[in-house]
Amino acid sequence: MSEPAAAVSTAPPVARTALAFPGPRRIVDGWELTARHATGDLVLADLGPLVKLTVRGPAEGAVRAALGTGFGRTARHDEGALAGALVVGAGPGEWLVLGPAGTGGELLAATRAVVADSGEFASVVDVTHGRALVRLTGAAAPALLAKVCAIDLADRVVPDGSAFRSSVARVVTDVVRDDIRDELDDPAGDGTARTRSYLLHCERSSGQYLADALVDAGTEYGIEVGAPPSAR
């Protein structure tokens, strides 16, 4: 490959998520995000910078075994090749792998390795930049979602650690129930105190619309937009 003809220096790249809310913004690890901090009981946080990979492969088999979960459920990997990743069974033979921001290269390589080792026909696509991802946290989250999503969110239907894809405010969205453990406010002291929390993941260009629809629906519950209450 030859040298560029007449390279000019440009500003270092700044990444933007799908969401832009009014107010101050700041740059964290190359990502421009809202600078607001949410303190209320119901919070919508932009998790756009998280690494997002889709994996396709046989619904049952070695890929599934390595990813640790199947359709409709989630698995959090605390160790191993995918350590730090949350694997979501997004469809039959379809997974969404979520990893901390900035781990794109390693997680992609690790996931590709998992797929390659399986010997199955499987593929991995990095959709970090192609999707919007938000986290909605608070006891009122199910009531808010009941205004925009037709799926019954009762524990018996969508328990913690489960996931489904459906229409949310008329946008096809992956909804992941991923309650947050309250380490500071845990009356029983046994780690059972949890706050309802959902990840919502959709195609990027509809992200702002979806977030606006959630904020509108959450107004009566005092929703706030800002940095997540518990960094993940």
């Binding site: 039959p92 489904f164 096809v172």
Partner: protein, 83 residues
Amino acid sequence: MMLLPCPNCGARNVSEFRYVGEAKTRPDPTTATPQEWRRHLYLHRNPAGWTRETWYHGSGCRRYFAIERNTVDNAVRTAGATS
């Protein structure tokens, strides 16, 4: 709104799905006469009663699947995955 039993996701509102049409077998394009081909394209059984048809779960698993539906009262029964 009727529920449609997606073989992957379970019962969901029919608005999550796209109706594809009566399940049909595509004739062999190398041997079909023009008339046979056009009958495949244009003719429908269109029964008032049970029919086998294809749906697409666009807001869910994004899979095509077959069901049997009674077109008179929209009762639905599972017919397994299309193959």
